[in-house]
C-alpha cells in the first residue's frame, strides 16, 4: 500500500510539472499584454512598456518560467501583491463550498440511485430518474437566478450572497452557502445517481448476486455485502472526477453569488494574462484533483481487493 501511494505521488509530481509547462507556454498564445491589461486601453504605450518591464513580462519566456519556478508562488501581475495571501483564502472558500455540496449530494444521489435500481421500471425509479436528469440539464446560472429570485428576494428566507459578513461563525456561514449549493446539487445529483443506479442494476443481475439470493441470504444483507461493494466502484470514479469541478470549476456559481473562489481567480488571471497567478491557481486545482483521485483509488482498493493486489505486485 505504501509503495502504491509513493509511486502515485511521484507520478503526480511529474504530472504537475508538465501541467505547469503546458499552462505557461500554451498561455502565451492568449492574446493581450499584462501591462495593457492593468493600465487599460487609454494608457500610453510608454507606460505599458514600463509596467511590463517592472513586472518582468518583457523577458524571454524561458527566463520568465525560471523566475516563476524559483520564486513560487510569486507575485501577481494584476494585483501587484504576493500570490499566497490571495490564493489560500480563495482556495479555502472553494473547498468549503465544494465540501458542503459534496456531503449533501453524494449520500443523496447514492441513496437515490440504489432506491431507483431496486425498483427498476417502477414509478419510484421513473420519478427519481426524471427529476435527477431534469436537474442535470438546468445550467447553474438558470437555477441560481431562480433560487435567488424565489428564496432571496420574493420570500426573503435566505441570504443571496455566499460571502458572510466578517465575524460570522462557521455554522452561521453555512447558511450563506445554502442557495449556492442547491444548483450544484441539482447538476451533480442526476449524474452520480445514474452511475449508482446503473452499477446497482448490473450488480443485482450478476451471478454472485443470484448465488447470494439462492443460498438464502436476506435481501438487505445481500445488497449491503455483495451488491453495493461492487456497484459503487464506478460511482466513486465519477465522484472523484466531479470533485475537481466542485473545487475549481464553480465560476458561474461564484460569480452569481459573489463568492471569490479559486475558479473565478483563475479565470480572471487568464483574462488578464496574469501568469504567476494563473500558474499557481491551475497547479493548486491540479494538486486538489490528484489528491482526490488518489483518495478515490485508495478507497477503490479497499472496496475491491483485486486492485490492491495488482498494485502491490
Amino acid at each position: 500500500m505504501g509503495a502504491f501511494i509513493l509511486k502515485r505521488l511521484g507520478l503526480a509530481l511529474i504530472t504537475l510539472w508538465i501541467l505547469s509547462m503546458l499552462v505557461f507556454f500554451a498561455g502565451q498564445i492568449l492574446p493581450g499584454d499584462p501591462g495593457r491589461s492593468v493600465l487599460g486601453n487609454l494608457a500610453t504605450p510608454q507606460a505599458v512598456h514600463n509596467l511590463d518591464h517592472q513586472l518582468g513580462a518583457d523577458r524571454p519566456l524561458i527566463s520568465q518560467y525560471w523566475h516563476w519556478i524559483t520564486n513560487f508562488p510569486g507575485t501577481s501581475y494584476q494585483y501587484q501583491a504576493p500570490i499566497g495571501p490571495i490564493l489560500v483564502p480563495a482556495l479555502g472558500r472553494s473547498v468549503k463550498l465544494g465540501l458542503f455540496a459534496f456531503v449533501i449530494v453524494v449520500p443523496l444521489s447514492i441513496i437515490g440511485g440504489v432506491i431507483a435500481a431496486l425498483n427498476v421500471g417502477k414509478p419510484v425509479d421513473r420519478v427519481i430518474s426524471v427529476v435527477g436528469l431534469s436537474g442535470t440539464t438546468v445550467p447553474e446560472f438558470v437555477s441560481g437566478i431562480v433560487l435567488i429570485l424565489l428564496f432571496g428576494i420574493a420570500l426573503g428566507w435566505l441570504p443571496i450572497e455566499a460571502t458572510p459578513p466578517p465575524g460570522t461563525s462557521f455554522l452561521g456561514s453555512l447558511r450563506y452557502l445554502i442557495l449556492p449549493v442547491i444548483p450544484l446539487v441539482l447538476v451533480l445529483f442526476g449524474y452520480i445517481m445514474r452511475m449508482a443506479r446503473a452499477g446497482t442494476v448490473e450488480a443485482l443481475e450478476s451471478d454472485y448476486a443470484r448465488t447470494a439470493t439462492l443460498k438464502g441470504l436476506p435481501r438487505g444483507v445481500m445488497i449491503r455485502r455483495h451488491v453495493l461493494r461492487n456497484s459503487l466502484l464506478p460511482t466513486i470514479t465519477v465522484i472523484a472526477t466531479q470533485t475537481g469541478y466542485l473545487i475549481g470549476g464553480l465560476v458561474v456559481v461564484e460569480t452569481l453569488f459573489q463568492y471569490e473562489g479559486i475558479g473565478s481567480l483563475v479565470v480572471m488571471a487568464a483574462t488578464h494574462k496574469d501568469f504567476p497567478m494563473l500558474e499557481a491557481g491551475v497547479l493548486t486545482i491540479g494538486v486538489v484533483y490528484m489528491l482526490v483521485t488518489l483518495i478515490a483509488d485508495i478507497s477503490y482498493s479497499l472496496l475491491n481487493p483485486r486492485i490492491r493486489l495488482a498494485a502491490a505486485e
Binding site: P31, G32, N41, L42, Q46, Q78, Y79, I153, H272
Partner: protein, 560 residues
Amino acid sequence: MRRKRNEQLDGLRARCTELENHYIDELVAGDLSRRDFLRRGSIIGMSVPFMGAVLGATDPASALAAPRARTAAAKPKSGGTMRIAIQAPSAAVNPLTVADAGGLCMLNQTGEFLVFDNNLKLALQPMLALSWKASHNATVWTFKLRTGVKFSNGKPMTADDVVYTFQQLSNPANASNALSVFKGILSPSGVRKVNSHTVAFHLEAPNGNFPYLVSSDNYNAIIVPKGTNFKTWQHSFVGTGAFKMTSYTQGVGATFTRNPHYWGSMPYLKGTSFKFFQSQAPQVLALEGSAVDVIGQITPFGATQLLHNPAYSVIRLKSSNHRELSMRTDQAPFTDARVRQAVAWTLNRHQMVEALLAGYGLVANDYPFAPSFPSTVPMTQRTRNIAKAKQLLAAAGHSKGISATLQTETYEEISQLAQVIKQNAAAAGINITLNIQNQTAYYGTTFGSSPWLDGTLSLVDYGSRGVPNVFLNAPLVSNGAWNAARFADPTYDHLARQYFATSDLKSQRKIATKIETLLLQQTPIIYPYWIDGLTVSTKRVHGLNPTSIAQLYLNTAYFS
C-alpha cells in the same frame, strides 16, 4: 440704478485678472449664460461668492444664481454602515496604474484631488486646493493649497506632497496612467513648490483647461504623502479623505471607517462596506435582495427593472461617456470620406439610445463635443437616411455595396451595439462581419498588435471627461496614441492645438465650430451616443456624491 450696478461691477473688475475680466465681458455681452459663467469661472479659479457678486452686479435678479446644494430629503442622521456594490477592481489599487471603474472608486474613498469636478453642478470645486490662477497665456497655473489638512496617518499635507504626487504621475519612466493626460503638457520638472502651501505647474504648452487635469477627472491624481511607494499603497490607502481603510481583500471587498484626521466635517456614516462584483446582474440582485444599499455605477442595459422601480432612487448625471466607431482612413474603401459618411447615415441613433440605454443617454453627432461641454456648438443632427447613404456609396463607386470587419470588445452594451450597427448598415449594402473579443485581447499592446488600433472598423469605449481635450487629442491628431482611424489631417491638428491653448469660451466655440464641421465632413470616427452616469440606491440612502466616471464620495451620505 444701472449706473450704480456698473460702478459695482467696475469695483469687482479692478480685482480681476485679464482672463477673468474677459469672462465678465462675455457675460455682460450675453455670450456666456449665467450657468456657463459659473462653470468657466470655476475653471480659472474665480470663487463662487465672487462670481455671485459679479452676477448680482450685472443682473440683480440672478444674485442668487450661484448653484446650491440640493435640499436634502430628510434631516441627516448620524451612524450606520453603508453597503455599496461596485465592479471588482480588475487590478492592484495603485494610484499610478489604476484604470478601471472599481479601482478608481477605491482611490476616491480615502483619496482627494486638488480640485473636484462636480458633475451634479457641472462646475469645478475646491478640494485640496483652495484657489487657482493662470498666467496670462495659460502656461503657468498656480494652486493655493488648503491649510490644516492631514493625511490619515496624521502627517500634515504640504506642497511637498503635491509636488511629489504630480512628479510621479507625470514621470515618463513610471508606469503611470496619467501620462495619457500629461504627455506633452506637464513633465516632472514643471511641477514646482512655491512655498509650503503653494504649487506652480509650468506647462509645456498653453492649456486653458488645466485645472481639469488635476481634478477628479484625472482619476489617478489623488494626493499621496511624499515618498509613497505606489505599489504598496493598497496596504494603507493613506489619503486625506473623510474615511480611512480598515480592510481590503482582493476580489471580495473593502471596509472603511471615519478618518479622525479629516479636515472637513466628519461624515455621518460610521463606516462603509464595499462589495466587489464581477458583473452587473448580481449587483442588481444584491440590491433587490437587500444585501447592499447602493450600486455605485450601473449601466442601463440589463437594469431597466431597477431604474423604473419607484422603490429605488436613481441619480442621473449627464456625462461624456461614449463609444467611438473608428474607420481606417488609410484602408480601402474607407479612404473615401463619402464611404465613412455613408456608414454614419445608416445609423438609427435614437433607437440605439432607447434600446441599448433605456433612454438614459443622448444621441451624438459625429464629433467629440458632448452637449454637457460649454464649448459645444450644436450642429444639425445626423439621423438615419438610407437613401443618402446609398447615394454616397454610389458616388464613391461602391453602388454594389461594401464589406468590412468590425473589431470590438465584450464590455457593457458594446457587443450589442456592434450587432445594431451591423444591422443598420446592412440596409445600405454595407456588409459588416463582427469580431468580438474580450477586453485584454481587443486592446492588445499597441499599433500592429491591437485589434482595437488595427481593425478596419473598430468600436471602443471612452470614459467621461469634463472637457473634450482627451477626445480631441489621442484618437484624432496625426500619430495620436489611440488614433485607430489613422486620421491625419494637418488642418485638424492645427485647430486642435489652437483649441487646447485657448481659454476664453467665445474663441473656443469658434474653433469648436470649425472642428465639428471638419469632422462631420471627414467622419473618421462615428459617435453614436453619450451615456448618462447612473447611481442607484434604496430610498433610505441620501447625500451620495457620485461622478460620471464611477467615483463615489460618501462623506455627506446618510440613512434616513
